[in-house]
Homo-oligomer: 432 residues x 2
């Protein structure tokens, strides 16, 4: 086994320095099983970060489906294949009747490209609304929605509105209804700007639970009223369920939690338990308009391999009733962390849904975001054998998002490590 | 087994009508092995189209590598993993010393997005040069290089130049050198337009053997001289090796055949024998500039699964010396088809390299493209158990591109079917 320093140097050359890595001392993982991963020294970690291996690392049902299909047939989609049709039927049936047809692709980026272009073709307009702290992928078009990389302001078709939240509200001292109105007013301004510039409104794209924004508590009614405003302006509503969907919240879809009905749904990360697999789902009319305009074909997508693996993942979620596990374990874990907020002045807020929880770390003096503390917490948790990361507009939110089979026992072990970590860091600070 | 009509109706709803299908009567394939595929009725076809399962359908070495890795670990790239580094090192080493570092992704579209944005960041310019009959993928940016879908002319950063060819030259009657000069003059005009508009030249992107253009015979010297002109204008040269690379031509790379040295190389289709896998390779400086500007991360890419499968494919190509097989069988098949050009006035031209051959079907009276005849040839070959498709600026080129282990015996069987097909169609025409 190559030592970490040598491997890192080789990686910096072969992938280029700047290829992202987690943790002060990067982790060299060699094996996974269920909710656990093991490093090159044989040390076990409880995985509380990875949503892609959603039914567990090295899930044997998925491995078996993948092996069987790759050993039988894996070919592109210009031939008939029954399982591909069946998988798309199953995906569509997981939504309301407005979702009828599916375009499969290989990544959330590709699926969001399809969604945005679909909305543009259908409406004849180009303007896209998104929040001011989002991320939807890495292509030129999709990355222009993000604060990272290419500047959003360089794309005249994109307007960002402040993401709605109750913890650091745009206007302090308002009641929830008035706060909701204040955020909707900002969305209305963005719509008006797109209309005045001639771009018009093709779509609003949002993560249904605002995951990259830090899982904020959203003023009640914002999402359905925002969706109605966008439709009033002639636009479509795109739910990015890449992180929020697939029972992550204890519901099948994030939009059930925040209470709106999308026209287009994008899914990705958990769909293939690690096989590249993503989807854009919509009405048949929307999908066929897109297909007629683009003759869309994706070499690796809608393959028998994607279908077989995708159905094995759905089978595992359904047969093991992982949605109930997520709801139960997630609620207990959130309650336990919320309790700790009452006893620790460095925890500003505990938010989230199901097994997707954010703990906002703050400076006790003024509740200001403390991203440095969040980074220390994440690294010390890793030393104790628990893998998390950070999120949010200020990167000060500890992000907890384990594989779906995460158990009460795993949660109990984590809470012990959490308490020890916070005690150690508070003690460090007092000693400093 | 569902009957074809019912399955097609279900597919039209679940995927949306317009999801592309091959052949007048779509083929319902259920199994593959090596260079053969089998339909739902158990009928065998010799696959002469599919370059994705490059080391053969259901290749057992690939299946074993995929199974072993998925059963061990498949996780994102923000942890250290030795095989991911090793795979990128092996990929870079397949090129000259100017290629040092690799960014893995999940599709040729994603890899071309990376290449184009990399060139833009590195040069500080936005203009992109491409041929007038190309296709590089399906995102908004990449599809704007294509004649299909969104109009190229709507993207002010893109300028197309006429693809160079000897069969239907832009100026008839010229010698090869003068013809080369005439095409270079057109490229020069496109460069001048980008410079005059203020876009400048970021890159020229070309398939190294102009596959979608119909595999034309290119006037000698065009590619290296075009590359020099682009560099003179401050741009970079991107070789799209998604179709041309990976020993398809009997050489590792298409750019070896057409004699130029790219700054950025994009690979895709054959890399994972069906697993979504693509790469953008360049100098370390180019890759690191891109990474610094974008903090590029791709959820499913640079995974242990991509590395394990990608290396199994390279192992198969190297250990079975498939490059030699491609060179030998490809040369014999091309010679046999070229011989038939002499005896059939419907074959205008036979072109290509290795196991990538195009047969241009024409109207005998005036050598005009006959896409209808090409379509009939392809459908009748399918009835005889041989899978091909069409390509080229006029869709009149029968495209022959089998898996790399395609044998002399397979080629001999194909030639019998070809002769029978042409005889039947000529007889039909006389009878009509």
């Amino acid at each position: 086994m190559t030592d970490t320093t040598t491997l890192l140097a080789r990686r910096n050359r072969a992938l280029g320095a700047g290829a992202p890595l987690f943790y002060e001392h990067p982790l060299h993982i060699v094996r996974g099983e269920g909710c656990y991963v093991y490093d090159a020294d044989g040390r076990r970690y409880i995985d509380m970060y990875n949503n892609v291996p959603c039914v567990g690392h090295a899930n044997p049902v998925v491995v078996e489906a993948m092996t069987r299909q790759q050993a039988t047939l894996n070919v592109h989609s210009r031939y008939l294949h029954e399982a591909v049709v069946e998988f798309c039927e199953r995906l569509a049936a997981l939504h309301g009747p407005q979702i009828e047809s599916v375009i499969l692709s290989c990544s959330g980026t590709e699926a969001n490209e399809v969604a945005l272009r679909m909305a543009r073709f259908a409406t004849g307009r180009r303007g896209i609304l998104c929040t001011d702290a989002t991320y939807h992928g890495n292509s030129e078009l999709v990355s222009s929605l993000s604060r990272l990389g290419q500047s959003r302001s360089s794309n005249p078709s994109v307007r960002a509105f402040p993401f709605p939240e109750k913890f650091r509200p745009i206007a302090p001292g308002l009641g929830e209804d008035a706060l909701c109105d204040a955020y909707l007013e900002k969305l209305n301004d963005a719509i008006a700007e797109l209309q005045a510039s001639g771009e018009g409104v093709a779509a609003m794209i949002v993560c249904s639970i605002l995951a990259n924004e830090g899982l904020p508590d959203i003023p009640a009614g914002f999402m359905p009223r925002a969706a109605a405003m966008v439709r009033e302006a002639g636009g479509l509503v795109i739910a990015d369920e890449v992180q929020a969907g697939y029972t992550r919240t204890g519901h099948w879809w994030g939009y059930e939690v925040t209470g709106f009905t999308p026209d287009i749904v994008v899914t990705g990360k958990p769909m293939g338990n690690g096989l590249p697999l993503a989807a854009t789902a919509a009405s048949r009319a929307l999908v066929e308009t897109f297909r007629a305009r683009t003759r869309y074909f994706n070499t690796f997508a809608s393959s028998p391999l994607q279908a077989a693996v995708g159905m094995a993942v759905l089978d595992e979620i359904e047969q093991r009733d992982l949605r109930s596990n997520v709801a139960t374990v997630g609620a207990a874990l959130k309650a336990a962390l919320t309790q700790r907020k009452g006893t620790s002045d460095t925890i500003g807020d505990v938010r989230g849904h199901g097994l997707f929880i954010g703990v906002e770390m703050v400076k006790p003096a003024n509740n200001a975001p403390d991203s440095e503390l969040a980074t220390r917490v994440i690294n010390r948790l890793k030393d104790r054998g628990f893998l998390t990361s950070n999120a949010g507009a200020f990167a000060n939110v500890v992000k907890i998002r384990p594989p779906l089979p995460f158990s009460q026992a795993d949660a109990a072990a984590f809470l012990l490590a959490w308490d020890a970590t916070i005690a150690e860091l508070v003690s460090d600070r007092r000693g400093a």
